[in-house]
């Protein structure tokens, strides 16, 4: 029962944060909406029994990506007094398309929903899986991180002169 309450409050927080990301008219409100959304996502992970995943989500996303996004906002955004800093071109066609894609996802994935809820394992077996079965994927992810790091430096440095 309390799990249901927790699930629906996390859902409300996630949807509210996502709506703030999509609809907010000020840059910082959008960033904080994204933060609320990511925290709600970490809460979902913890609720489903993946405690380590929740921690990783908070470290990587709230601590990394969100701060990076705030840095980018500070670097590139010029405030014009009186005008809303974010604009959207709201369009019923976009609304219908997005809602259609969401409905399609729900319809397509409905047969795969498992009703029997059992607590997830997590913990030490995660490390075993990551360093045995999924070792190539793990190493490839490390390689991709290195490539991304080099790419970020090369792109943001710009031309040499």
């Amino acid at each position: 029962m309390s799990e249901q309450v927790l699930f629906w409050s996390l859902s409300a927080l996630a949807v509210a944060g996502a709506l703030a990301v999509v609809l907010a008219r000020e840059m910082l409100r959008m960033a904080f909406g994204l933060g609320a959304f990511l925290l709600a996502l970490a809460g979902f992970f913890a609720l489903f029994g993946f405690g380590f995943l929740a921690l990783a989500e908070i470290f990587v996303y709230v601590g990394g990506v969100l701060v990076l996004m705030l840095f980018a906002i500070m670097l590139v955004h010029r405030e014009v007094p009186g005008a809303p800093s974010l604009q959207s071109r709201h369009d019923p066609v976009a609304l219908v398309s997005a809602a259609g894609v969401g409905a399609l996802i729900v319809m397509l994935l409905r047969p795969f929903v498992v009703t029997a809820e059992s607590p997830a394992a997590g913990g030490p077996s995660l490390g075993r899986v990551l360093l045995s079965d999924l070792l190539p994927h793990f190493e490839l992810a490390g390689l991709l991180l290195l490539a991304a790091l080099v790419a970020v430096v090369a792109v943001s440095r710009g031309d040499a002169e």
Binding site: V21, M27, V76, S88, A94, A103, L134, S156, G158
Partner: protein, 97 residues
């Protein structure tokens, strides 16, 4: 089932943001919402399965990949803002077809 509905709704909200936002940083944030929704679906569908630690490992790798993508995207935004003097996608005429 309810997690499936929430994930679908979040993906639709993110997609709407990508379609209607006019600022590159906001489009990137909407893409983050779109990436997170399938992650939620994966975790909610995989929590009840037998190999749940494999699901956790895959979700962890996906978080890492999405973070790398976000970092490169934000670097591109900074580079675009430096050369084009704007981050509004309807003012970036030199990349239009």
């Amino acid at each position: 089932m309810s997690a499936l509905a929430v994930g679908g709704a979040l993906f639709a909200i993110g997609l709407y943001g990508v379609l209607v936002r006019r600022d590159l940083v906001a489009v990137l944030a909407s893409i983050e919402v779109m990436i997170a929704a399938p992650l939620l679906l994966l975790v909610s569908l995989g929590a009840a399965a037998d190999g749940s630690s494999r699901v956790e490992a895959v979700a962890l790798l996906l978080i890492v990949l999405a973070a790398a993508g976000a970092a490169v995207g934000l670097a591109l935004v900074v580079a675009i803002a430096r050369t084009a003097r704007t981050t509004r996608i309807d003012e970036l005429r030199q990349v239009s077809g």
